[in-house]
Amino acid sequence: MNELFEVNLIVNRKSYSRRVEPRLLLSDFLRHDLDLTGTHVGCEHGVCGACTILFDGLPIRSCLMFAVQADGHELTTVEGLSSFGSERNGELHPIQQAFWEKHGLQCGFCTAGILMTMSVYLKENPKPSEHDVREALSGHLCRCTGYQHIVDAVLLAAEKMQVSTMDIPG
């Protein structure tokens, strides 16, 4: 057994402290050590985008970082998008609501990563064109939808975010 390192971090506004082996991937740490299984693991080499989370507010591949590197940092996963647990119990993030309404997923495997990327993208680009959305989606692979409903959902999400009063993380 290798030396264990202490990791103190914030995930979805909650503090955690764990001891990890250096080779533990951040994606596996989130799923197995913190039981935050909303972050999915697909290709494990940075191509599919399923494991995308926010690291200090920026979308990154959690399969291409080690958990030990998250020490002292603040993360957001898909579990942190909705206001679940706050006084607005159960309310979906406008992007989640838009994916629901536009049928932006079938199996849902890629969805968590897409939501995380788009939560930042739509804040920086509040009125994207369809072309812009396709460009922004290019780091995510979906094998069900053919992307059309995802694009529709992101465009609807852009509209919803203009009028949302939710305190949007990320």
Binding site: N2, E3, F5, E21, P22, R23, L25, D28, E44, H45, G46, G49, T52, F55, L58, P59, I60, R61, C63, L64, M65, F66, V68, Q69, T117, Y121, E135, A136, S138, G139
Partner: protein
């Protein structure tokens, strides 16, 4: 798909890093953005015994413009920072414009300038851009520092001139001369994939519109960034014309050394190189305000 066990150190100072690489040499692998080495570790293509994490070295994350117009960029500067920095956009527009071609935003948020150079993937954009811009790279060890011109930095596939006890710490990019145009283009099968082929052009004309110097540098056209010197020499001393650009592109497609695979045959890649070269030469030329 899990990395083999390794020892891990995350130093707070460059001195500590230099001491570690001096002691462990090739057994120590430096972890910058991790966007190439971590996939390789996940596949167990590489199994380093010691990982030295550079991510706490804020001293290697900087973008400065010297009084002589030379840009100095720290090795740990993220690709996403290069993409968004106003100084880079104004002073090294070719570098700025090329950033979005590198994978995806999620990768560029972690990937670094120095990591991309040290990895020396013949298909990657940054080595080609630094070569085309005539940049130079600073290596440091406990014994001292040395500058290496980008032309001499890349020595083979995934191989640079760096010694096992050295760390890549900084990149310098000289200012563009007056009447200089630039262009980057590449062709990839899907957005963000490694390109089948790509190139950067930097072209300088004199006041009469005669070409003083041109660099045409290719990615994925050999073991390292391929500087098509014979092709670009056809332009020097001449006034650019469509016919001349066609001749340069024809010479360049013979000068490069692309490897065909099941996705694209070698003749196709050479044809593609020629088409992209004509486009890039025209784009660079259009940008020169004579």
């Amino acid at each position: 798909m899990k990395p083999a066990p390794f020892e891990y150190v995350v130093p707070d100072s460059l001195t500590e890093v230099l001491e570690l690489v001096a002691k462990h040499g090739e057994d120590a692998k430096l972890l910058a953005g991790g966007q190439s080495i971590v996939p390789a570790m996940n596949f167990r293509l590489t199994q380093p015994s010691l990982i030295v994490d550079l991510n706490r070295l804020d001293e290697l994350n900087f973008i400065n413009e010297g009084s002589n117009g030379v840009l100095k960029i720290g090795a740990m500067t993220r690709q996403r920072q290069l993409e968004r920095d106003p100084v880079i956009k104004a002073k090294a527009p070719l570098l700025h414009e090329t950033m979005p071609y590198i994978a995806h935003e999620q990768i560029r948020n972690r990937g670094t300038l120095g990591g991309s150079i040290a990895h020396a993937d013949p298909a990657s954009e940054i080595p080609v851009i630094i070569t085309a811009l005539g940049g130079r790279i600073l290596f440091q060890s406990l014994k001292g520092q040395r500058w290496v011109a980008a032309d001499e930095c890349f020595v083979g596939i995934f191989t640079t001139d760096i010694a096992p006890d050295e760390v890549l710490i900084e990149v310098e990019i000289p200012p563009l001369p007056d009447r200089t145009g630039w262009a980057f283009t590449e062709f990839a099968r899907r957005r963000g994939d490694y390109a089948l082929i790509g190139l950067a052009v930097v072209m300088t004309l004199d006041e009469e519109g005669v070409c003083l110097a041109t660099k045409v540098v290719y990615l994925n056209a050999g073991d390292l960034p391929v500087n098509a010197e014979a092709a670009s020499s056809l332009l020097v001393g001449e006034r650019p014309t469509d016919k001349l650009f066609e001749a340069v592109a024809e010479e360049a497609q013979m000068e490069i050394n692309p490897t065909g695979d099941i996705h694209a045959t070698e003749p196709y890649l050479r044809h593609l190189a020629k088409v992209l070269t004509i486009r890039a030469l025209n784009r660079a030329y259009e940008r020169i305000a004579v």
